[in-house]
Symmetry: C2
Subunit: 329 residues, 2 copies
């Protein structure tokens, strides 16, 4: 058995209260006593139990982060940004992936019971679940998801960059555009799609962009979209994809079919993952780590300062034009 505060107290010949004071480095302990306690603690290799401490202090010194998946680079980077700041703040980090989990909301609720606060990425849990957590007093920060009630949120700019991206394509001569993604399952994607439509409305174009909905935003889905278009001999001037993985899958299949990109059809993605560079993919870069880091800071404010008025951060993004949408790059 690991030694407890009582063992140390006995060893040092003091009360547990004194040991507690020494371990917490609180004032008001005579140096001689302190040294005796420290010696005893070292002797027994004593480390205070987190459980006991947390129960007494009624805090966990741990936060949780909920995300759909870690397989793409996007969420991994956000989590990493979050973890970095959380560590600085001396908080442990609990993670929970909801992907393919039927009891996601239970798991989140369970996690809430182990943390002082939670960061929720994307549409991992329902609005109702978020509301109910908030109602129970759980400190929350949403990332990549529009604000709900008075819950804090951190988002990357989507609408304006989607418009810039679309305007770039229009200026490259694109007339027919097909957007690939699922606006329903991802709030980010919904905003991007809205931005694309907006750009069309503001242009002189008499055509409207099309929407192709896919289940997953991965390479496989992208490849499937390309296959379908090739089979139907129905290629638009440009595919605008909800993220880079879709675009990469699509690009790969087009290349295999010998389709000229960007000559025959242009392709764009979103996120600027590493592979995008190697594929020459036009995309929109978002500050993934910053999203996580900002969320960690907001959460800390909620927990420590008891801040009550909600904050909503919007981080800037950047259009990155490469050869998949431009002959001059």
């Amino acid at each position: 058995m690991l030694p407890t505060i009582r063992d140390v107290a006995k060893e040092a010949g003091v009360s547990i209260a004194t040991v507690s004071r020494v371990m917490r480095e609180s004032e008001g302990v005579r140096d001689a006593t302190r040294l005796r306690v420290l010696a005893a603690a070292a002797e027994l290799e004593y480390t205070p139990s987190h459980l006991g401490r947390q129960l007494a202090e009624r805090r966990h010194a741990a936060n949780g982060i909920v995300f759909p998946d870690l397989s793409g680079p996007y969420y991994a980077e956000v989590v990493l940004g979050y973890e970095g700041v959380a560590a600085e703040l001396r908080r442990s980090v609990l993670i929970l992936s909801t992907h393919g989990r039927s009891d996601a909301e239970d798991a989140v609720r369970e996690m809430a019971g182990r943390c002082d606060g939670l960061v929720i990425l994307g549409r991992t849990v329902s609005d109702a679940a978020v509301q109910s957590l908030a109602a129970r007093g759980t400190k929350l920060v949403l990332v990549a998801r529009p604000p709900i009630g008075t819950v804090d949120s951190v988002n990357a700019e989507n609408h304006a960059s989607a418009r810039s991206l679309t305007e770039h394509l229009l200026s490259e001569g694109v007339r027919s555009l097909r957007f690939v993604g699922d606006p329903v399952s991802s709030p980010d994607v919904a905003e991007r799609w809205a931005g694309v439509r907006d750009a069309f409305l503001r242009s002189e174009s008499d055509r409207a962009p099309e929407l192709v909905t896919v289940d997953e935003l991965d390479e496989e889905s992208g490849a499937a979209v390309a296959d379908a278009a090739l089979a139907a001999d129905d290629l638009p001037d440009a595919f605008v994809c909800g993220n880079d993985e879709l675009a990469l899958g699509l690009l790969g299949r087009l290349a295999a079919a010998g389709v000229d990109v960007p000559g025959t059809v242009m392709v764009t993605g979103w996120d600027d993952v590493m592979a995008a560079r190697y594929a020459g993919l036009t995309t929109v870069r978002q500050p993934m780590r910053e999203l996580g880091a900002t969320a960690a800071r907001l959460l800390e404010e909620l927990i420590v300062d008891e801040r009550t008025e909600p904050r909503h951060e919007l981080l800037p993004t950047e259009l990155v034009i490469r050869s998949s949408s431009s002959t001059s790059h």
Copy 2:
């Protein structure tokens, strides 16, 4: 304040012991009583406190995983594989990134105090620290790191695939080979380097492979290695890189300099990350998720079954030949 077991007991008109029995779904509670308790719990929206429960049960129902960084795809995938299994086993997951943290070992020790067991990836902490954790009774599983004492381990096969890779290159006519990586900081890389040398020894080649040590296994370092070689006008027949990111950085710089790959120089990586496909990079695929998943299962055995004899798993890898090392692909 959240309701406690006492609130529910009062509301239902029973003792806290009975509430505890109902909440843990243990036998020996009359149906009528159970229903009254459940009603009271629902009424108050009661959820048992993990802290209280864990303190009483002396267990955390949580495990930790320690990794250097999550920025490359490799560790992210391992963590994800781990998380998936841990979730099935109804265990929470704590994460800790040691990269750029001076107090890494303290942080790991701290984390050990919050978990029933720990998975340690790569060379994140010293052998001494691992030994001392093990000595204190912390359940441990090492991943991507050679066994230490009687601590469990999970590794991907490195030596044999490094030999196959090297033999492939030799058969492609490579005579001078330069290995890029840091065998000291990564056990995996050390084994790969050893495999390369072995293949040379067993061949008729009269030349020995060279070693270029880099600080980080990232694209930037790879680019720097390419720059140095170009500046010195000293290109080997092949660069064998310790991971894909190094190789991608190298490839990019070679392409920019107009060097013919694989004609003038061949390049290989390791891991088979997504970008490797798009770059046509020859590499060795390892089962990243499986590494994490296997570690989770071993750890569970240690915790639940109190297994004492150590286990060491070796997962298979696969050589993936692409255009960066072969004209026929």
